[in-house]
């Protein structure tokens, strides 16, 4: 029965589709489809129309994709389980491919549009930097993460104390119907591997908090004070988000560990395991819509500034990938999208991505 997978699909796809379709409305007002422009131009009629077209075409395409996916899942639900589990990844892949293609198309159109605008040709490229930027509260205190550490330590202690109560066979993998797909014999490894994962997550989120604090300042010369205020709130909100979502995710792992001692009803376990990640994703999407990239949706001014932001279009390949060998920054705020991305010319950035990839690949290989 594939009802659960359709529910999961809907709960993920609908907000995801809308965040893709409405992304141009969420970016900074100095960026349109990966091209830097003044706020005035962002709010002008031709650029508004482009955003609207993008949203409409996106919704149409993704809507069709979603319906095909639902149809395929209904069909396969009566057939073999393997087919069912393939459709979700296939449609996520198609979604990403479609959105990339669509974005690139509009990116090229926007580039052409910018060339026809008279104002941008003579505009000076002014960069504004606030020397006091990092004295604002950009990220939550690291001390909050002691709570996470306490939760992990508590889980370890509890599991050690109750180790004998754990049955000889532990379930490792479930499918969407709630049946056990894979189990293993109880050992210190299988029991405490979850804690190892928790510790890795804690380290990851500490690092995320650090990079929110230290990532490159991107202040708009047209209205520096407002830009800094928006940016500070933006960073702080995402810091709070990562604090809370990391706590919930670590909590989920502890919950799953508890499940080893006294396996609870599969429905309860499945619901919690699905609810928590779902909630985190929804929370992120809602936060994106309320805040905008760089805080662009926080207390918008009535009129957009006509000052051209610093022209670094040539540093943003395809409007998405930041490549600047002279820039010592490792993390910069995304130009098209919400959050941060790496400076692809920085070796440390590649190392970080590489390490994460290795961890992911090793985890997949281990579980095969």
């Amino acid at each position: 029965m594939s009802t659960l997978s359709i529910v999961v699909l809907t709960l993920i796809f609908i907000p995801l589709i809308s965040s893709f379709a409405f992304m141009p409305y969420l970016t900074r007002e100095t960026v349109s489809f990966g091209i830097s422009i003044s706020e005035e131009i962002y709010r002008s009629e031709p650029v508004r129309r482009m955003r609207k077209n993008y949203a409409l075409v996106s919704l149409l395409l993704y809507g069709l994709l979603y319906l095909s996916c639902v149809f395929a899942l209904f069909r396969s639900g009566h057939q073999d389980r393997l087919e069912e589990s393939i459709w979700l990844p296939v449609f996520i892949f198609l979604l990403i491919a479609l959105s990339s293609g669509l974005f690139l198309h509009f990116h090229v159109k926007m580039k052409q549009l910018k060339r026809t605008l008279p104002a941008t040709a003579e505009a000076k490229s002014i960069l504004a930097i606030d020397t006091k930027y990092r004295q604002n509260k950009l990220a939550v205190s690291y001390h909050w993460f002691w709570l996470h550490a306490a939760l992990i330590a508590g889980s370890v202690v509890y599991m050690l104390a109750n180790y004998d109560r754990i049955p000889g066979q532990i379930a490792l993998k479930y499918d969407f119907q709630g049946n056990i797909v894979e189990s293993a014999a109880k050992s210190y490894g299988t029991v405490f591997s979850l804690n190892a994962a928790q510790i890795m997550m804690l380290l990851l989120f500490l690092f995320i908090n650090w990079s929110i604090q230290h990532s490159k300042q991107q202040t708009y010369a047209g209205d520096p004070e407002r830009s800094i205020r928006q940016s500070s709130i933006f960073r702080h909100r995402w810091s709070v988000f990562s604090l809370l979502s990391s706590f919930m995710t670590i909590g989920l792992f502890s919950f799953l560990q508890l499940n080893m001692i006294e396996p609870m009803h599969t429905n309860v376990m499945m619901s919690v395991s699905l609810a928590i990640p779902l909630f985190v994703v929804l929370f992120a999407i809602i936060l994106s819509f309320l805040t905008g990239q760089g805080g662009s949706r926080i207390r918008r001014p009535a009129k957009g500034s006509s000052v051209q932001p610093v022209d670094d279009d040539h540093l943003w390949k395809l409007g998405v990938f930041y490549y600047n060998p002279s820039d010592p920054s490792v993390f910069v705020e995304k130009r098209s999208g919400i959050g941060w991305t790496i400076n692809h010319a920085h070796p440390a950035a590649w190392t970080i991505v590489g390490v994460i990839l290795i961890i992911v690949i090793v985890s997949i290989l281990i579980s095969i």
Binding site: K124, S125, I126, L127, A128, T131, R134, D311, N324
Partner: protein, 132 residues
């Protein structure tokens, strides 16, 4: 303080940075003892090489305008600024010479030149530092 840099100017970035910081201290926007971003942080925010920022900070440190602590970071000199020593006056005269020469060449009068100086001085200087 907000630093403004013209990324496409003929004037190199490190010169602009230096001038902006000096002007900031002169005009009171940067107060004695105030924290400045570290070399790494400033280089990252502007998007330029560490060495460029290092060059700026080293020059400002040599003049005695800022202090660079390993642990505590970079601060505007809390003891106040060095006065106009004879060395400084010589250097300043040498820097002003080509500006004045070109002004004369272009037919500017003594008064026009003085007016410009007055205007800029007023724009930058702290009210308390005004000579009577």
């Amino acid at each position: 303080m907000i630093i403004h840099l013209d990324m496409q100017s003929e004037v190199p970035i490190y010169t602009q940075l230096e001038h902006q910081i000096v002007e900031g201290i002169a005009g009171g926007k940067l107060k004695p003892g105030e924290l400045l971003p570290s070399v790494r942080q400033l280089a990252s925010d502007v998007g330029i090489n560490l060495h460029t920022v290092n060059k700026v900070y080293t020059r400002l440190k040599q003049e005695g305008y800022i202090l660079v602590h390993r642990q505590r970071g970079v601060v505007v000199n809390p003891e106040g600024m060095p006065s106009a020593t004879s060395e400084f006056l010589e250097k300043q005269a040498a820097e002003l010479r080509p500006i004045i020469a070109e002004a004369i060449l272009r037919g500017m009068s003594r008064q026009e030149l003085t007016e410009i100086m007055e205007r800029i001085y007023t724009e930058i200087a702290l009210p308390t530092k005004e000579e009577s």
